[in-house]
Amino acid sequence: MFANGQLQPEVIRRYHEVIESLGPEFLKAMLQDMHTIRAFEERAEQLYGLGKVHGTMHLSIGQEATAVGASNALQDGDYLLNHHRGHGHCLAWGSDVNRMMAEFVGKETGYCRGRGGSMHIADVDSNNLGANGIVAGGVPIAVGVGLSIKMRKTQQVCMVIFGDGAANEGAFHESLNMASIWKLPVIYLCENNQYAMSMPVQKAFTIENISTRATAYNIPGVTVDGNDPLAVYLAVQEAAERARRGDGPSLIESKTYRYKGHSKSDRQAYRTRDEVNEWMEQRDPIMRFSALLTTAGVVSEDEANGMRDQAIKIIDDAVAFSDASPAPDVSSLLEGVYA
């Protein structure tokens, strides 16, 4: 969509229709969410540096378009199974940033009362069934959610998000096959950010696109530009329609890139600074979407510039909330194991 920083005219034409149909408010909210996600992640990294965070975290800076495009294509009542690099997905799903931040720093007011932390944030009330510390951990669970939807005869769908690395766990294959044979309303969204920790996709796969694995399970498989929120939106929307029609699951591969290290301590010896810079400078999802919306006249330059400040304010408030929140009391340690 972007070549050497220049927006191509045919791209504007291609997107004209979808921009018209989504309308300015919706599109502005998408861009604002991308900024908020980035601001959350940047602050998360900063808090980590200040020693306020115990444990680890996985930042999704550079991957905001996938999160925002995917969640916005679904409806209230749909289900989300998230993965370890999941702050962005959680925010895009509409979860409360204050309670996320509180969980991130282990406070009682956090989504999981400080028991889960970054890797386990869940917002069950909004059918966000949680991030997962286990690679591909959520993928077989999607089969169960899909079965449940089918048995309860609702119009819901379940979106399960996982990385490129997860597609090489055995559970991935069992899950896709089961969802296929039972025509379950599941959207498999593989967020291919080019690496599984230090393992590049070129070494972990001999196929060009992970989406081709859909062929083995006789379901649709598409690869989209994961740094383009509209491309992700359209693919997820189509998969959701298919799922709601009772036609079964789809596999969507969203190609994107992680700017930061895998987790807190990563020297990144497996890639070059040039490679990272190229993605940041040429294909940054926020820069691209912002340029698209301003060029298309959906937002003014001023509005677009103000979104970053707005995001920082949202995050400042979330930090103030979590700072003012109590830590869990040790006397409550044994709570919550059994129902």
Binding site: R115, M119, F205, D266
Partner: protein, 328 residues
Amino acid sequence: MREITYAEALREGLRQAMTADPSVFAIGEDIGVYGGAFGVTAGLLNEFGAERIIDTPISEAGIAGACVGAALTGMRPVGEIQFMDFVTLTMEQIVLQAAKVRFMFGGKASVPMVLRTPSGSGTGAAAQHSESLENWFVHVPGLKVVMPSSAYDAKGLLLAAIDDNNPVIFVEHKLLYKTKGHVPEEMYRVPLSQTNVVREGKHVTVVATSVMVSRAVQAAEELAKEGIELEVIDPRTLKPLDDAPIIESVKKTGRALVVHEAVEMGGFGGEIVARIAGSEAFDYLEAPVRRLAGLDIPIPYNRELEYHTVPQVENIVREARKLARGEY
């Protein structure tokens, strides 16, 4: 003598085994250019190349299966499972294949593999990255289970485990990787199934594993100031267990406390208690045999909650003091 860390000791042991025996190789996730999640294999890729330091996709069942198959056919694989929690994904290959093949085949095959994996809490990694699951493997005939508690033991036990012709589950601890100790440069072995009396004392026998060994020693140092002498014993190999030194010790002290990080119920401590109760040491007991172990909850994320979930030095001091004073 030279001091190096537990992680360095493991690396040196692995390097020496790979240099001495071309059939030894390492396989796991991010063990090459990344050097392993905890740095144990750092630099080995440059020394041995990608054919013997094998980076895999995220496929734990595949790693375990690859170890079983290679071990059955003349190699000595050292697999790494990035966190002990993920052994759950290897269970079929380890429990139903590796452990049983030799017996099922009438003793005609062997599976000389080592599966290294870091266990334990204390890093804020929460419930799915902090497990201590050693006792699951202790329950399986055909497996050996090793838990080094010091840099010296880490190297010596790793070399002994690689030499062994059976599948060995080698349980490391995240909090120990950076701890230092005296480690000889030569290629020495700490024999499997040889329980170690870490510190002598006459009042209470404390049997501890992994990270709890150094906590028990610290507790012993504190209690020594009060005139209470703990005898700290580290089984080092949980299975097959050399229980004689434990029983001998309890005959001397008449009091025993077992300490481990894993959840108390169904944990390894129960086995130690049963060994003591079922032995001649029973007649020498002057107090009930006690356990101090992890609470029966998943490991919480919040730092303070996490701290209070597993035994700390002060808990060991308190329990051992109660036993010594007859205040249980």
